[in-house]
Symmetry: C2
Subunit: 559 residues, 2 copies
């Protein structure tokens, strides 16, 4: 009751998120009857949803922040901004990965932070880190809390206590250089706030990950984020011009410059550092004019291979869409099954595709954003190349439908979890010449692992980011949950998929980051000596080892 009152009387820095799942707590998610029917017949799942436990029934470990360190933190940020009420601790106990949600829905909020601390400035961050370093308290930087790889899990890792450092109060647009088209962002600024502030000046960042509604600028930079339009606008690593990062040993300030040859890429050393080196307290990013027009179009190809070749041609001929998405046969047919029940339009569309020889094909969405004359020109050029590559134009309806649902995935996942469906995604990237082999290997690994658990499921894949030398692959799989051993089931499938990725030489993550879940594959990514190089940087910037322990870097072998 005390807790509840405290929450109610204190200003909230952000609109809240469901503690047990995704998004606005007032938004309910129900599966339409035809979807439920499909899942029942395909996966044999239950019709009756099982709700998460009530917040008051969640098992929460006692907060164990000693009085002295607590006072240090209160001096750093003000008493009101060191919180340990139930809802605050539970909402900072995990990110939004599948294992996180399984745990939370079942009422397990352990590990949880001993307190959540809300700094309002870089100086306050500095004071917090200094205090925590001397008190041996682990610090988990927390932006939107949307990590799907365990990046914000509050692990103690041998420290005396652990706090979440929520950057919500550092969420303002701090400056815009309209001539250079750059803007200075506070790390806690969420996607909608970013776009709203920029739109007032007719600008956009163009960064729209599926987590857009809750994810923050600091989180994007710290996890090397890519968004749905990053084929056009560039992933966050390409947009970073300047950075400020506060570490336990002081601040690194890299001013905003367009390019430099001054030694190793320090900006790129901090981009993707996932809170293990320090806290990003400001980012200067490239922005650009609001597009006059967003033009999204649907196409279909007879096969995934044909679609890949079409995308490769677009990219390598320099006719690059800002949004480019190619679903494989499985994702295409599942989307169609889940999309529209039995509407006339849907049946007519399917009929058209079948008649033209594209039944069982692969849906493509391409989007062009910018000045009207330019989107028209690019769309026409792309159209010519896509048709020549075997594509069939489907008009603007599939594009509009994709755009409408572009942030819905995580809401849908909550509903699926309620019905006992494991819904998980993972992603990689590779050179064009290896993509088909990579897709095959990963799909086979996931299907094989699901079969082995006795829970066969649906596995699908899409391409979502194009580069001159290759593309990303994004995998989604659905399967009936193993009741009681959900996490073991997930772990077996995840491991099989990741092993397959590195076997074919793909990167272990294209935009979800390493976090906790991908740590075992960092050796494959950069080798033992690469890990040692990063460890040496961490040792210098965070000698006490307080920064986001257990993430990004494998634990050192005991001496």
């Amino acid at each position: 009751m005390q807790d509840l009152l405290r929450v109610l009387v204190m200003p909230e820095p952000h609109a809240p998120m469901k503690w047990w799942g995704w998004g606005d707590p007032s938004r309910g998610e129900e599966l339409p009857p035809h979807v439920l029917g499909f899942l029942r017949s395909e996966l044999g799942v239950s019709a009756e949803p099982v709700p998460p436990v009530r917040l008051e029934d969640v098992v929460l470990p006692d907060a164990e922040l000693p009085e002295g360190p607590r006072r240090t933190l209160e001096q750093a940020v003000g008493e009101a901004w060191v919180r340990d009420d139930r809802v605050t601790r539970v909402t900072h106990a995990a990110g939004k990965g599948y294992p996180d949600l399984v745990r939370l829905r079942a009422g397990q909020a352990s590990p949880a932070p001993d307190a959540v601390v809300y700094p309002a400035s870089a100086a306050e961050v500095r004071a917090v880190l200094e205090g925590c370093a001397s008190d041996r308290i682990a610090v988990v930087p927390f932006g939107g809390g949307t990590s799907v790889v365990g990046g914000v899990e509050p692990l103690h890792d041998g420290m005396g206590a652990v706090i979440s450092l929520d950057l919500a109060r550092m969420g303002t647009l701090e400056g815009v250089d309209e001539r250079s088209l750059t803007a200075d962002f506070g790390p806690g600024m969420r996607g909608p706030a970013v776009e709203q502030a920029l739109a007032a000046r007719n600008l956009t960042l163009g960064h729209f990950p599926q987590s857009f509604e809750y994810a923050t600028v600091g989180g994007w930079v710290a996890t090397r984020s890519a968004g749905q339009a990053s084929t056009g606008y560039g992933s966050i690593e390409k947009l970073v011009c300047g950075l400020r990062c506060v570490t336990p040993e002081g601040e690194i300030e890299l001013s905003a410059i367009p390019a430099t040859a001054a030694g190793p890429g320090m900006r790129q050393l901090l981009v993707g550092s996932e809170g293990v080196l320090g806290v990003i307290t400001q980012a200067t990013l490239e922005v650009c004019p609001q597009p006059q027009e967003r033009r999204y179009e649907g196409w279909t190809f007879r096969s995934f291979e044909e679609g890949i070749e079409a995308f490769r041609t677009l990219e390598q001929r320099g006719v690059v869409p800002d949004v480019a998405r190619l679903s494989d046969e499985h994702e295409t047919s599942l989307s169609l099954a889940l999309a529209g029940g039995d509407s006339l339009a849907r049946r007519a569309g399917l009929g058209y595709m079948r008649v033209r020889g594209y039944g069982g094909g692969c849906i493509v969405v391409v989007g062009f954003e910018g000045e009207r004359a330019d989107t028209a020109r690019r769309s026409a050029l792309a159209g010519k190349l896509l048709r020549r590559a075997g594509g069939l134009a489907l008009g603007s309806a599939p594009g509009r439908s994709w755009e409408r649902g572009r942030y819905d995935g995580p809401y849908l996942r909550d509903a699926l979890l309620g019905h006992g469906v494991m819904a998980e995604t993972l992603e990689t990237a590779h050179e064009w010449s290896r993509l088909l082999e990579l897709r095959r290997a990963v799909c086979d690994a996931i299907s094989g692992a699901l079969d082995q658990r006795g829970t066969p499921g649906l596995v699908m894949c899409h391409v979502s980011h194009l580069y001159p030398s290759g593309a990303s692959l994004y995998f989604t799989f659905l399967a009936p949950q193993e009741r009681g051993t959900e996490l073991e089931q997930w772990h077996a499938v995840k491991t099989a998929a990741c092993d397959a990725i590195v076997r074919v030489g793909g990167t272990i993550t294209h935009h979800h980051a390493i976090g906790r879940d991908h740590v075992p594959w960092m050796h494959n990514e950069i080798g033992e000596l690469g890990i040692e190089a990063l460890r040496s940087v961490k040792q210098r910037l965070d000698p006490a080892g307080i920064m986001n322990p257990g993430k990004l870097l494998p634990a050192e072998a005991p001496a």
Copy 2:
């Protein structure tokens, strides 16, 4: 004599370069009479060139490689590939910076490497580094030897001896993935060899720095190089997909992938590492189809400011030339004075500009490369924007003239040095909103320093690389040399220019790298903590401190 014979009977890995200057030893450089006249009247320099001393008169320190370490090196690479003859040591005693050439022309080849070692494979590099680490011998990786910032100066820095590690034998194209448009290069491959090997497959790397004829892939990657067409093709940091780097502690192998979110940017940590962490033994770079057409055009603007605004508009409207160069008023008038004596065409052109109100203006060259339809379209669009921004089209002659002379700068410098002219260049980059202030500050600093030395000179500037958020500025200055104190004179002017750059917040180098000359400004670039972070990486990868000592990182303050 023994030495000379040895050189003559052993295969040379590369076409040679003048030991005292730039380029083909058989190519003489003479200044045409009108240029000489101009320099005499403007700078008061001598008409009679002073040649460099003869090779046999060069003062060369004794080679001091002890017998044991020498045997280790010979075992690593073969006896024939450990050399210490005079010409080999002198040609590896310095790069091609102004102070290097002043020193060499005067017959001072100290410091010189005690030996030059030519490995043929990554395994041989590994063996050399292991041997040198245990024998405490400094290793200076040497590609084309074209550094203009002292990057290949063989400094002992407290080691027992120093070798140059010449990568000329690792100079082949090791593979091409024509579907992914990537190629694996040996580090010792020079520009012409790169383009020749790629042209056979109708591909290009598109990397054309002024040092193109001699510089190598490994050097480009190690110094974060940008070339004259990098506005279009991207600087080397954007082209790197995969890397192999051998350090004294082992190899880091980063496979070729188009993008990743797996933690800090390891590729970008090695790009720009300037040999202080290890030796780049292979680079996988993006390549692209040979352009059907190269279309270079000349324009003129009434002022540098007007030209900058025109370039900003092009870049931010997405109508980006592959080559973009804007000379300020001083560079423009000097180029015109040096260009064509008194030809009819030149006088007609100048007359046309004057009549149209562009007398004393700024010349622009824009180049478009690619498919014919696309270059025509982009050129037309750019033309519209340039005209609207105040530009006057001059046709293709200025572009062709620039293209013809694009690699001539360093040859010209040799001739100028012969006549007692200090000719030096330096570069920076900044956001669009700060470029005018930056140019003013640097030009004033250089002029002021020259005046203070009693050697007033000519200072000029051009823009040569465009980015959405800013551009590079490249400064050239000419002044009469202070006989006997050439290096003090240079140091005073260089220091004034660099201090001015960092005062306005520009980067200390846009494409020349840090080397030896820019070390004092690394603090301004990445701060003390940034330097400490890099030092910790170096400590881990090169604990004996043998790799290219004295470059990139400031010496640690004595404990």
